[in-house]
Amino acid sequence: MAQKKAARKTNAAAAVPPQLLWRKEGADFLVTNDFGHYSWLKKKDFDALLACKVGEGHPLFAGLAAKGFVRDRLDFDSLTAKWRKKNSYLNSGPGLHILVLTLKCNHKCLYCQAAAGGSQARDTDMTPATARACVDFAFKSSNPGITIEFQGGEPLLNWSALAAAVKHARSRAETGGRDLKLALVSNFSLMTEEKARFLMEHEVSICTSLDGPADLHNKNRCFSGGNSHAVTLKWLKYFQKKSANQPAGYRVFKPSALLTVSRYSLSRHKEIIDEYVRAGLEDIFIRPLAPIGYASSHWDKIGYEAGDFAAFYLKSLAYILKLNRSGVVVKEKMASMMLDKIINSRDPGYLDARCPCGADFGQIAYNYNGDLYTCDEGRMVGRDGDEVFKVGNVFKDPYRKVMASDAARACVMSSNLEAQPDCVRCVYKPYCGVCPVYNYEVQGSLWGDMASNDRCGLFKGIFGALFAMLKKPGNEALLRKWVEK
């Protein structure tokens, strides 16, 4: 009798489908699981899966079983290996170290999240000694790979600190055997042959901003000293030429560019993408505007709803794929990173879409005075007078104290999707992440409320667009090429 009861209990357990996440899209159902697998199902098949009627004779059985959707056919070795690979960032410390070399800037961009001061602003330059101390702090990270990114303001306004940090970091990497990447984000307006040569010789990768055709770029990125768009294109071409003709002794990276989408961009997706292609750029990073820092006070003029951005993003992706079909090599960066998670189960290093988010344990932002923040967005909140995301100072606080700071722990806890009521049931959970800084600024708490959260709506729009495209075999083949490595 007891045996019969046990058998019934076992059968009942086996008859329950494994935990899965789902969303109805049109007539079909998208299902995902924590291992990162996904599948599109017709309604009858979805109903059969939930009713535990996808048996060995079912045509979808083998495919669903291999992906971990059939409870009594779970291959734990394979599935956990996939989960570990997708979440490999949980085993390393901060890899991205953002050095804000100055708050000064000679541009006055409409959306400037950096909350930059004017080029004459005083006392907001990082000293070379502080820059070296920041590098030393970055090398305390438990992550074997370190990326130091120089930002501002406009970092070329503080060349002495930039040069000091670059030399010191290269020296530390050489003696310490660390994998070091250096990156500069600049508007190029102060670039010279001499500075460019130094940056190339020290293998610093270069990234700039390009917001589209001249009129749109210059409207978004006001530069009283000249034509921002012309300067940007001039130096993009310069670095592309150098990269195409690699010198002996060091690598010159292809330059890249970032697009910030303002309200003025929404009707011009084709022109913007065409501008990138004309400029010889093979990646376009379509980044939404966030109502943080300076942008929040101008949101009524330059901001937009999540749905507006999702529509823009979808049109842009469709146009990029159309260009791909005609042989043009160009891809969208955010889609590439999301696809890397979805298709390859790899962590692309996109700190905004991790669980937990990259705050502190994935990245650190170093302010000009050596103050440390969970991320650059957290630093911007501090610039507005609220130091809730400050985690320490390079001169005062040891590395381990910074990693265990109140702000770091609060961000890790609040961006954990397993503890977020809506996210825990969301079909996109295996690939997504929330931002405590955004939540704090827009909704008043680190946790936020995803049901009414615009960033959540925006990410849902992006994932919706990507999965809809992956559903079409012709698109899927093209998108898979984006993440082939």
Partner: protein
Amino acid sequence: MNNKAGKDAGLRLDAEIYSGEALELAAFVFSDRAAITLKRGKGVFEVFVKDAAAGFTPGDYLNEALNQQCRLDLAGKNSKAAGMIATRALLSAAGDTKKK
């Protein structure tokens, strides 16, 4: 929930659904926009809103209260998985990845 007419715009919330912790957390979220106080009654919480900023509505508070309650309920169910992920992340970042 019942609206109770009065100068303090009192709300009555079922204590079977809402915990005091969730209601206090929700009140804190709006602390820069309204002075929200709670009073525990028999089976209910009474919520009083004073000095509300323009644009603030009691509905905003109720949405946040529900959000906080769902979060607390979820924490009760999922705290083990969430805790393992958070602990792993923080220990790895601190450089302490050895099993203990």
